[in-house]
């Protein structure tokens, strides 16, 4: 069976590493720079999840310049509202404020300086009977 890792292309990988640490608390696992000192590949981690960042070089234009993202990364966190405030303070563009979704998650959406979009969510706990108007004996 295969394993998957999202790969986000960036114009400035070193700046993206710094941003993702400050905004979302991702941890740097490794970075690779060529002889010119430009970081062309990096790996970051959140819990058991990993993402790769890469600079394709050449005539690459990031989503901010293209006007559309093709890949979006979803992240599951414990406190979605706290992460949203952290991301906002770090300069992320919040494109959707935290809100309960009807499929059982609370989620916000943010755009990073490279134009990549992120969905950050946490599962909503199971409802207690009192939460929806039911009563229990005693």
């Amino acid at each position: 069976m295969s394993a998957i890792t999202p790969y986000l292309l960036c114009e400035d990988v070193a700046a993206q590493i710094d941003f993702l640490q400050r905004a979302f608390g991702l941890e740097e696992v490794l970075r690779y720079a060529g002889d010119d000192g430009i970081v062309s590949h990096a790996e970051m981690r959140l819990g058991d999840g990993t993402i790769y960042l890469g600079a394709p070089g050449g005539g690459y234009a990031n989503p901010a310049h293209l006007g559309a993202a093709t890949v979006l990364v979803g992240m599951t966190v414990e406190d979605v509202d706290a992460v949203c405030e952290r991301a906002r303070a770090a300069g992320a563009q919040i494109t959707e404020e935290p809100a309960d979704q009807d499929y059982g998650e609370r989620r916000f959406a943010a755009r990073d300086p490279e134009g990549h979009e992120w969905f950050v969510s946490m599962p909503l706990g199971e409802l207690e009977p009192q939460d929806w108007g039911a009563t229990t004996p005693g």
Partner: protein, 130 residues
């Protein structure tokens, strides 16, 4: 997304159902859910890998999310790690994946090939070199 999956990639597709079927046939992912609206049109899909799912997302103006299109510029893609990259490559090619680069030993310790799916998303599939 399951509770244990902290990172989930989402790819935008114009035809989610066709993309789902292609990813299962060409890349060997397990089929996942296909959610339909009242008209039977698929609005959300998933395929499953060994370490979690990939969400197949509708084109979304509010999130500026769109597929690259054939030959278009992708903002990223998915790296896939498999047991036998050469067999995987043959299967993908036979299923109609566009091969950007054939399986090649890379200096970073992987034998890897590059491919694109019908909507232009990029895939890098590799096996660690032992």
């Amino acid at each position: 997304m399951s509770n244990s999956q902290t990172i989930t990639p989402l790819l935008a597709y114009e035809d989610i159902e066709a993309a789902h079927d292609f990813l299962v046939a060409a890349f060997g992912f397990a089929p996942g859910r296909l959610d339909r609206d009242g008209d039977g049109h698929v609005v959300h899909g998933e395929v499953e890998s060994g370490n979690g799912s990939i969400w197949l997302h509708r084109i979304s103006d509010e999130h500026a999310l769109a597929p690259p299109g054939p030959g278009g510029t992708a903002g990223g893609g998915i790296v896939v790690t498999v047991d036998d990259v050469d067999a995987h490559h043959e299967r993908a090619r036979a299923a109609g994946a566009r091969i950007d680069s054939p399986p090649t030993d890379q200096f970073y310790g992987r034998r890897e090939y590059g491919a694109r799916d019908p909507e232009g998303h990029r895939w890098w599939v590799g096996t660690p070199i032992s």
